[in-house]
Point group: C2
Chain length 195, copies 2
């Protein structure tokens, strides 16, 4: 078994195990020893694949960030009225969160103690800014309520979306589409029937 | 200085220091030694006030929970249409979060490893259920959009509200009223102008 595992270990499976351990123990609380035990391979085998745990963190958060930034290049995010574009980006953000759940969970828990963590925080802020810019453009088009404070709305929108990593469980019976619908309708149309 | 501190130490000030340390290091990661250093009093002085760190946790999360449950007894939460009551509860929840920020932050980070933590999680769920019941009543009155999934809406509402503990900073220029308005308007009316 162990030999078979060793033979079939790839950077991809190592990354997947590392992300799970980081999410369980916290990045700071994870040692190479923990990773070695969880992966069932020796530390030197891990060092054959990566320089250390920070490289695993970098690969993991990059995967989450690449998924998020790719959304901003999609046709739905670049064409049409700003309000439609920001709704599209919100929907797709939910889908990427669900599709890359452990990677995005790790990204959202990053605290900024290492260079990689600070870089990840910086990239997250950049993504948030781009969404805030879309909201600003939607407000300028007259498509957002006049009393909306863009800065607060951006925080609350991401607060709602990012909370998914804390409570959403795949195979819970709620699919990504249904979840994305619920988020977009609540954020943009509100829960109330029109007054 | 140290003597003066010792003389004026009260269970209240000890609690306030303990909550700060719990929030910084995590409850599991906090020892009596950490608490003693942060409070500037000996461990035996702490044991004069409380039986141990779990009692401090109990007092701290009770303060947050008492604040939250008191909302449900207020006139605005028990009289009027369900949709108005749930908007009221949402607004007041934001205010309690901001007013008791370190205590609610600790409550929301509780993981369930000890009896006190499991009790706190249970009480949080009970609060969420009561809000979900109000949302259900509002839906039955026809005051929520027909496509609203109550379970998801409750999760998303608390996801948005609870995210405040991660990003809201008192003295940031945004007052509790403004914050509560932003949350209630976004959740119930949505960001968009009426389509």
């Amino acid at each position: 078994m162990t030999t078979a595992k060793r033979d079939t270990y790839t950077p991809e499976t190592l990354l997947s195990v590392a992300v799970q351990v980081f999410n369980e123990r916290g990045y700071d609380g994870t040692s190479m020893e923990h990773l070695s035990k969880a992966a069932g391979i020796s530390k030197s085998s891990i060092y054959h694949h990566v320089a250390g745990k920070e490289e695993l963190l970098l690969r993991a958060v990059s995967r989450a960030l690449d998924g998020l930034f790719a959304i901003l290049e999609e046709p739905g995010a670049v064409r049409g009225r700003a309000v439609e574009r920001v709704e599209y980006v919100t929907r797709r953000t939910v889908e990427v969160l669900v599709g890359e759940l452990p990677y995005v969970t790790l990204l959202l828990r990053v605290r900024g103690n290492t260079r990689t963590e600070r870089w990840a925080l910086e990239r997250r802020r950049e993504f948030d800014h781009q969404v805030a810019d879309l909201l600003k453009a939607a407000a300028a088009d007259g498509d957002l309520r006049a009393d909306v404070d863009i800065r607060l709305a951006t925080r609350l929108l991401f607060g709602m979306v990012n909370s998914l990593v804390e409570w959403y469980r795949p195979h819970s019976g709620t699919g990504p589409d249904q979840l994305a619908d619920a988020v977009v309708h609540m954020a943009f149309d509100g829960l109330r029937t029109v007054r």
